[in-house]
């Protein structure tokens, strides 16, 4: 699962700590998601997307889907 949280954070001028506080998680969780070490639950993914005001698929991309498209 890839994500563009870092990009959206930069666009909204938010630090990891700011975003974590708004979403209601630890800053380390945001860092882990950005680094691809942790895949968030649907609930958390929706909360992040809703905070940035974009559809969830704009922030999170499923890698296996991309690979399938590449093969096709």
């Amino acid at each position: 699962m890839r994500n563009k949280i870092k990009v959206f954070r930069a666009m909204h001028d938010l630090t990891q700590d700011n975003l974590a506080q708004v979403i209601g998680v630890n800053r380390q969780t945001i860092l882990a998601i950005e680094k691809g070490k942790y895949v968030p639950s649907l609930d958390l993914a929706f909360r992040i997307a809703r905070h940035f005001g974009v559809p969830i698929e704009e922030i999170f991309t499923y890698e296996a889907e991309e690979k399938t498209q590449d093969i096709q």
Binding site: V25, N26, Q28, T29, A32, K37, Y38
Partner: protein, 152 residues
């Protein structure tokens, strides 16, 4: 209360419990009292935890805990039951398998594994479970990005 103080208190309670279990026969404590002590300790930890102000647990922490507990229990139960069943078999010297092989000496007190020693080893395994849990927790914390360096 800060979470580091909470962890120190939990460590002290755990050490006190282990010591209490270890010396329970010297203190002539009935098994019922040991069980009550354990429940009181768990309750105390729960109540103290509610006083911690900087301990925020999110879904990643829950996931780490889940994985650590699952692996700890998987390893612990296998080792614990293997030892316990093996110890009972050793004490009773039965059944003989495969049939036909002469059985050992008749049932009685064993020199190698006395019931008392079995209890101590089981207690030791219980104590080891704590370290096993801490080890698995550190391992899964690393997997789920706890040690990632901060760029900000």
């Amino acid at each position: 209360m800060k979470k580091n103080i909470f962890y120190i208190i939990v460590g002290c309670i755990a050490i006190a419990l282990v010591a209490l279990f270890w010396y329970s026969d010297l203190l002539m404590m009935p098994p019922f009292m040991i069980a009550v002590t354990f429940v009181v300790a768990v309750l105390a930890i729960y109540l103290i935890r509610r006083k911690v102000i900087d301990l925020k647990e999110d879904e990643r922490d829950v996931k780490i805990t889940e994985q650590a507990v699952l692996r700890t229990m998987q390893v612990f139960w296998v080792v614990f039951f293997a030892f316990s069943i093996g110890a009972v078999m050793h004490l009773l010297r039965s059944p003989s398998f495969p049939p036909g092989i002469p059985m050992g000496p008749p049932p009685g007190p064993s020199e190698l594994l006395s019931p008392r020693m079995i209890g101590f080893v089981q207690l030791g395994l219980l104590c080891l479970m704590i370290f096993l849990y801490v080890g698995f927790r550190i391992y899964y914390a690393g997997i789920y990005g706890d040690w990632e360096t901060d760029e900000e």
